[in-house]
Symmetry: C2
Subunit: 190 residues, 2 copies
């Protein structure tokens, strides 16, 4: 699984063959087929494992201010993006059209759990529409910024991470102007 | 093509068959195969046609303030989202894993041309890293907000559109704090 994850992360998943995975893992092609059934299944298994890894890294350390936790989380997120550059880019680029829908479900699952994680850091039980849209938008910002950074690499990662934290603050400010509940939250976090 | 577009827009593309398209278009299954070769090809052709439609609707009317143009463009974008609800959701949900890569290219192409359109409205020839990331992030916000709205429909579309315009202003403000070039642009647009 580690070998598969590394290969799918380092190259566009389209370009990885079962043979590549088998030889990287020091196993036979037949054994890989035996355990996973096929390339699509192997890819989905690798993806689930990557998603788990990412989420366990992002678990809040606790104790800090919400924005400091957010900054620390972003740093770990970008560590992950950098380690799994090609896989991350292949995963998030373009639309879905994944025949089985499993890939889409994994990606959406990660987004949902990241949203919950951020909410928890903010001490929010249930997000109303304005906060929910805002958190979802911000996660989309982070993904878009990650892809853009992998493509261009013309900004410092720390500068980009600071900009994303500032974006969260700015987006929360917008939501606060549209929803008194968010306004109270922002006051509490300040 | 119009029949295909309507079907793919109204239902998850996975659930549309060649037979559905043929009967909606009043054509034989054989004729649909003759012109398009198969369901994937038909889907890609319908998608290209939808992308063209969206982009032609978003062409700036010209003359207005950049932010008013943006608000008007957003309204036309959400008209499109509402008309093609299921197709839009299926297209943007989850990751790619599109075997041929064509779907991803179409989606990315639309994003790129939307970015250029917004830049043109702002009178920007070449975007530096901070502005480029910001515009890309904002388009990701619009897509995320569109998906969220289709799922929940618990906010008014006009309120959501206003929030997205405010988000653009806020994100430009953040970029301006990180990049003097964007700061000059924001001053010029004000």
């Amino acid at each position: 699984m580690a070998a598969a994850l590394e290969l799918f992360g380092a190259r566009d998943p389209e370009d990885v063959s079962i043979d590549d995975v088998a030889s990287a893992a020091g196993a036979s092609r037949a054994l890989v087929y035996h355990y996973f059934g096929g390339k699509q299944e192997l890819y989905v298994a690798a993806l689930r494992s990557a998603a788990l890894q990412l989420e366990s890294r992002l678990q809040a350390q606790g104790g800090g201010r919400a924005l400091d936790e957010l900054a620390a989380g972003l740093q770990r997120y970008f560590d992950f993006v950098e380690e799994h550059a090609a896989g991350f880019a292949a995963l998030l680029r373009g639309g879905p059209a994944n025949r089985t829908g499993e890939v889409g479900e994994i990606v959406d699952g990660v987004r949902l759990r990241l949203t919950r994680l951020v909410q928890k850091q903010m001490g929010v039980e249930e997000a109303g529409p304005a906060l929910r849209t805002t958190l979802r938008s911000w996660i989309a910002c982070v993904e878009a910024a990650g892809l853009d950074w992998l493509e261009h690499r013309d900004v410092d990662r720390p500068a980009l991470e600071r900009m994303l934290v500032d974006q969260m603050v700015a987006l929360l400010g917008v939501a606060a102007a549209h929803d008194p509940g968010v306004a109270r939250l922002v006051e509490r976090l300040a």
